[in-house]
């Protein structure tokens, strides 16, 4: 198992190298540069040239890339061109928001999706089945930003149940430790701050959960249906085991393998899907910041953020692979 983990982590190195090179070249090939974003209407050609020169953007691209690599080896991702703060600082201030949002969305998607998919399979062809299959089709089709506006219009503007933007009410004045607001609230016993942060997660979490929820319902349903037809289930039924035991020990467990795989992939996808949700809900996370950085051509931020996200993505999928052996004892990682 340890060898497996080490090998997977070593595979990261060439992956990151290739990704960084591609990304570096692609970003530099985009027309324009950060100097125009900084200066706006105010810039003169001389000022723009001076900024390009200072940033080293007038040098050959391989020399620029070499400089980036030399920094990267020292784990230094540089500073943001726009804010002049360190890229790692910017990341640590925003990543927790995206993690909270992604986890909320996955909790909603898994918590509702698996039971719903299972029930739909057990009541195949009946009303609940049709409702969940039809509902999940809508969930996949509806654009996230549209759903976000609808949720906000209903639950925030009209009913006033949930806040419509941000991560926490700024007048609470909560203490920041890890920038995971819920966790910080618990750690400092600022219960109201933790509850408020949770409250702020509901609508964006629901919006972001819509697509994974729909996918999980469908995969669970299909997978359970398949397992229900297996010989061992019939055997268990013939043995006279109670439905509860069959469901827990035999059906769900075997049906969960494809679901677990998809959860791993979906979680990674959510990191990128968060861009729209974060923007519409003015939710401070990496997605909205990346979108902003692209328009500002803030190269160090884009390089740094995407490299870190790639590492996180690989780690999440590593954890998913490891979890197979928990779900199915026959799977042994080597």
């Amino acid at each position: 198992m340890i060898r497996f983990i080490v090998r997977r982590l070593l595979q990261l190195i060439p992956t990151l190298f290739g990704l960084s090179l591609l990304l570096f070249i692609w970003l530099r090939r985009l027309p324009g540069g950060p100097e125009t974003a900084i200066l706006g209407e105010r810039g003169t050609p001389e000022m723009r040239a001076a900024i390009r020169h200072n940033l080293g953007l007038d040098e050959p691209i391989l020399i620029q890339y070499g400089r980036f690599l030399r920094r990267l080896i020292r784990l230094d991702l540089g500073t943001s061109i726009a804010t002049k703060r360190e890229v790692t600082t910017e990341f640590l201030q925003r990543f927790p928001g995206t993690v909270e949002l992604t986890v909320t969305a996955m909790v909603i998607a898994i918590g509702i999706g698996i039971p719903l998919g299972y029930l739909a399979a057990r009541r195949r062809g009946r009303l609940l089945d049709h409702l969940s299959v039809g509902g999940s089709l809508i969930g996949i089709c509806i654009p996230v930003f549209f759903l976000a506006y609808i949720l906000k219009a209903i639950f925030s503007e009209n009913l006033g149940w949930f806040p419509s933007s941000g991560r926490q009410d700024p007048t609470i004045g909560a203490t920041r430790i890890t920038n995971f607001f819920v966790l910080d609230g618990l750690m400092t016993r600022e219960w109201d701050a933790a509850a408020d942060a949770l409250w702020h997660l509901v609508l964006p979490g629901l919006a972001l959960a819509s697509i994974p929820l729909a996918i999980i319902v469908r995969i669970t349903r299909a997978s359970v249906l398949e397992v229900l037809n297996e010989d061992f289930v019939r055997t268990a039924e013939a043995k006279g085991l109670t439905e509860n035991v069959i469901r827990r020990r035999h059906v769900l467990r075997n049906a969960m393998l494809p679901v677990a795989t998809s959860i791993g992939l979906l979680t990674g996808g959510l990191l990128s899907g968060a861009v729209l949700t974060e923007t519409v809900f003015a939710f401070s996370g990496i997605g909205a910041f990346i979108a902003e950085s692209i328009s500002q051509r803030d190269y160090p931020v884009l390089m740094g953020f995407i490299m870190i996200i790639a590492v996180v993505y690989v780690l999440v999928n590593l954890i998913v692979d490891l979890s197979y052996s928990l779900i199915d004892p026959r799977v042994r990682v080597r």
Binding site: P31, G32, G33, E35, T36, A37, I38, L39, G40, R42, T44, P45, E46, M47, R48, A50, I51, H53, N54, L55, G56, R71, G78, T79, I81, K84, R85, Q93, R94, G97, Y149, K152, A153, S156, G160, P163, S164, S165, G166, R167, Q168, P170, T171, G173, A174, T175, R176, N179, L186, M187, T188, E190, T279, V280, A282, S284, A288, S295, Q296, R297
Partner: protein, 553 residues
Amino acid sequence: MRASRPKVAIAAVAAAALAVAGCAESDREGSGGSSKDTLVFGVAGDPKVLDPSFASDGESLRVARQVFETLVRPEEGGTKVSPGLAETWQPDAAGTTWTFKLRSGVKFHDGTDFNAEAVCANFDRWYNAKGLMQSPDVTAYWQDVMGGFAANEDDTLPPSLFKSCTATDATTVALAFTRVSSKIPAALMLPSFSIHSPKALEEHDASNVSGSADDIKYPVYATEHPTGTGPFKFKSWDVPNKTLTLERNEDYWGEKAKLKSLIFKTISDENARKQELRSGGIQGYDLVGPADVEPLKGEGFNVLTRPAFNILYLAINQKGNPKLADLKVRQAIAHAINRQALVDSKLPPGAQVAVNFFPDTVEGWNGDVTKYEYDVDKAKALLAEAGASDLTLRFHYPTEVTRPYMPNPKDLFELLSADLQAAGIKIEAIPLKWSPDFLNATTSGNKHDLHFLGWTGDYGDGYNFIGTFFDRQKDEWGFNNPALFEKFKQADTTLDPAARVALYKELNADIMNFLPGVPVSHSPPAIVFGKDVTGVKASPLTDERFSTAQFKS
């Protein structure tokens, strides 16, 4: 009995929650009063930096205007130079030394005294900037106004306009300049010339812009310790929550702020700002979409319209298509477009057709210039005379952007390009992403023939508009007109305000005869406050003073 896995998992989560609960200190003070003394204001972007010496983005400047003060400032709701930290000011006979009489009894937020020495410490800090502080993206406004520094480290930097600062006595300061300039004193109203506490600058190493040219790091002063004399003090910048909190300066020399705290909350999406206002999460926001002005008014919100202080123009590049160097062709373009229809149908209420390249709120505006009425036949005749009846022009317009003077570039493009086509000019549409593609394409090279661009004034002097556009050869316009450039130089170095204004009037007439482009419109941007918020006066310079904001009781 073996516990089932779910039970183990729940127990583990509960144990973990208990373990973290209370493991860190809360540094929170008692919950801050009623919401009636806290205003949350929605802004479109995070400020980039809190030291306005380094700022050029609107959101950083907005914060600076509440925390800091300048020697002179715009009159409330206007553009006229009026007293700030200085009560009076006077140039000497040569016009190169300005003497400012300072207000007494003013204290910085750190308790130290504001006086003439503090003013000189600030000017000396900017003037003596070294190394990375001379980078054009660090001290953009200083370079815009003053040119260079005491010792320019880059040969391309012009010599400094600023020469020296002398503290004659505790409340008298003399600023010496190398020549007469139209920028003084008006440019000193810019937040970038805010006066900081010298003690705080020293304590937090504020001039230590470190790193390397491609990896600049601001000192901690610029992100955590801005210390001025303004009606609000900086309290906290909660980047993870996209909010910045200011609190009332209880020792303010003037009328104290009505609000106990003022919070700026970043909501980049325009619709999201509107939804948040309606749901009560914020009590005001800036950059109101033109289409939202009337509906919000109808719902009872306080929509304030700023006096227009901007210009949208249609630029013509004479180095693009060679035919554009012919005045008749440029006149044809001006006659071909129906600017009134554009203003009526696409711009917010209160917008006007432009007659000059600056609005009539700026002195030197001239109503008696050549005007180009909408006349398609005349346009066709002029084109025929110039032998340019089969003209094809590349028309650049920006996408994914709203500027205060240009709420919807694509709509504007469609109207004007239809007008031009009606006059027989073929149009090749070139939509480009605003930043940086559009700005790069239209301000350098010569692949552009026509494009939209505009400007929002920094301060109330005509040179800041027309001088910025036309006082020298620029790739944006592609013309060389030495007589015009010479007259600009003359205006810039004329000390007597009346004589300078007279020159601006002449320049406006000259420009409209030469017609380097067509001034299109001035739009008044709107800002909105909650139904129960009063006391804020809209400013053409976006210099709204939140210290006078209050909730109706």
